[in-house]
Amino acid sequence: MSQIVPDAAASARPPAARRPVPDMVLALGLMAAVILVWELAIRLFNVSPFVLPAPTAVIRSLIASRARLAGAAQATAIEVVLGFVFASITGITVALVIVRFERFGRALYPLIVLFQNVPKVALAPIFILWFGFDLAPKILLIVVIAFFPVAIDMLAGLQSVEPSFVALMQSVGAGQGKILLRVRIPHSLPHLMAGLKVAITFSVIGAIVGEFAGASQGLGYVIQFASTQLDTPLIFAALVVVSVLGLAFYYVVELAERLLVPWAPKYEIRQRAA
């Protein structure tokens, strides 16, 4: 019936002469090269560890302070997870409200964009003033930093349903509520996942900034404490832990994306090839 030629075209392609090096190997190789150059430069030019520690010094510090760093990482991770969850809920709610209550949404939208232009980092001391040194100000800071990409991406997803499909739904008597629930929300999920990936990295930044402004634990606190002690290797060790933490969180969200929206347009090419 409609078996048009793609198979013939695929089989006509000559077998790959050599397999290309996987991206992952290239990335790790490049990283190793940068670390190697860094180490050599420190030794060659005799740079003081107070200014810039060699990678080996950072690793030594990582091992020496492992218990402390693990405790701090745990504290930061709790802030990141809680902040991210509340930021996501806030962002999703804002997007749904804007779409569902159109008039109110039009009034709300410029306000949100205006708020986005406030430097959030500057809010940290105010939140500390209001809520003290505990978890609450950090979570609030993460929410104000990270809800925006969630709201904007979710909104874009909700609004990008094809008008002709909406017309089709309306023609058989479906109301806005039903269209929202059965078409707009599922349609927006790939967009939402993109927003969540931005939000999770913002959440890590938010947690560190919150800890800078005033905290008694967490990786941000360790960094600040180490800088007062001129313990630069420990600063770098904490930075390594922050990066690994951020990377891990990012991939958790990426994994969730693969599981929740395998039909997302970005996977389409791979699906076709399969």
């Binding site: 023609s171 058989v172 008597g173 599922p186 347009p265």
Partner: protein
């Protein structure tokens, strides 16, 4: 051109098909005009449209792009209320007719939901229209319609795994699942390649012959219009109206031989000259 300065279409007497006077029209439009508001300016996009589509017929609306043929189809579907005049489908307002599932719609883009497979997509509109229908009944009906459009075996495929032609077949099955008596199609094959397009034309003809539905097809392909329809309404621009209605006298059922029929060539020539003329009269 047979159009008076006032914009009133003067259909040449010889071209009025005898059938329209006899059988009661399934879809009827009287003196339809549609105004759009663009940047505060009122613009008339359709004017003085009279249309009568006999029950069980397949008619085409053809015209230069942007002439308003899609707008007319949306008016017939009840998606755009006319500024003037009235439309009736089976004697009632088109919006009410759509709610009673008398009207099925197919657009140029298949607009399938990417998170649902072929059969779920085909059943989706039926389940939306009728909340009380059992899922198994809706799926049985959707499966039957997929078979009718030649997609049996592809029920579990996701839209991303289907070709453009197959996706459009699912969209047609989705409209047919409502069991509408009227099928309104807006350039349904416009986004497909030439070969797939011909194949889809034959598929549509087959569906029409088997179900006897009243079909209104918007197209910009002259050959498609002639091959498929009993009547072709040619639309002109600025504001759009029907400048001529052409009866296609090709024998039924239509086959490959229809393309070589002298009547095909005659209609082709006539439509070409009408379209070229209307295309050149582009509004400033």
């Amino acid at each position: 051109m047979q159009v008076a300065a006032s914009g009133v279409p003067v259909v040449p007497a010889a071209d009025i098909p005898a059938a329209t006077n006899a059988a009661p029209a399934h879809i009827e439009a009287r003196k339809i005009a549609v105004d759009f508001h663009l940047e505060g300016r009122r613009q008339r996009v359709l004017s003085e449209i009279d249309l009568a589509v006999p029950k069980g017929s397949l008619v085409s609306l053809i015209g230069p792009s942007g002439c308003g043929k899609s707008t007319l189809l949306k008016v017939l579907a009840g998606l755009i209320p006319p500024t003037e005049g009235r439309v009736s489908v089976e004697g009632i307002e088109p919006q009410a007719a759509a709610k009673r599932r008398i009207i099925g719609l197919v657009f140029q883009d298949a607009t399938l939901l990417p998170w649902k497979n072929a059969i779920e997509n085909a059943a989706f509109l039926l389940m939306t229209a009728d909340a009380s229908i059992a899922k198994s009944d809706a799926f049985a009906r959707a499966a039957a319609m997929l078979k009718l459009v030649g997609l049996d075996g592809a029920e579990r495929k996701m839209p991303s795994q289907l070709s453009g032609g197959m996706r459009q077949r699912v969209a047609i099955a989705r409209a047919l699942a409502l069991d509408p008596r009227v099928l309104l199609m807006d350039e349904p094959f416009g986004a497909l390649d030439a070969i797939t397009r011909e194949e889809m034309s034959r598929c549509l003809l087959d569906i029409w012959e088997r179900t006897g539905k009243t079909i209104v097809l918007v197209t910009h392909s002259i050959d498609e219009a002639i091959f498929l329809s009993g009547e072709v309404h040619v639309m002109g621009r600025g504001p759009a109206r029907i400048i001529e209605t052409l009866s296609i006298t090709l024998a039924q059922p239509r086959t490959e031989d229809s393309f070589t029929d002298p009547a095909f060539k005659t209609a082709q020539k006539r439509l070409r000259s009408l379209l070229i003329e209307s295309h050149q009269r582009r509004p400033a």
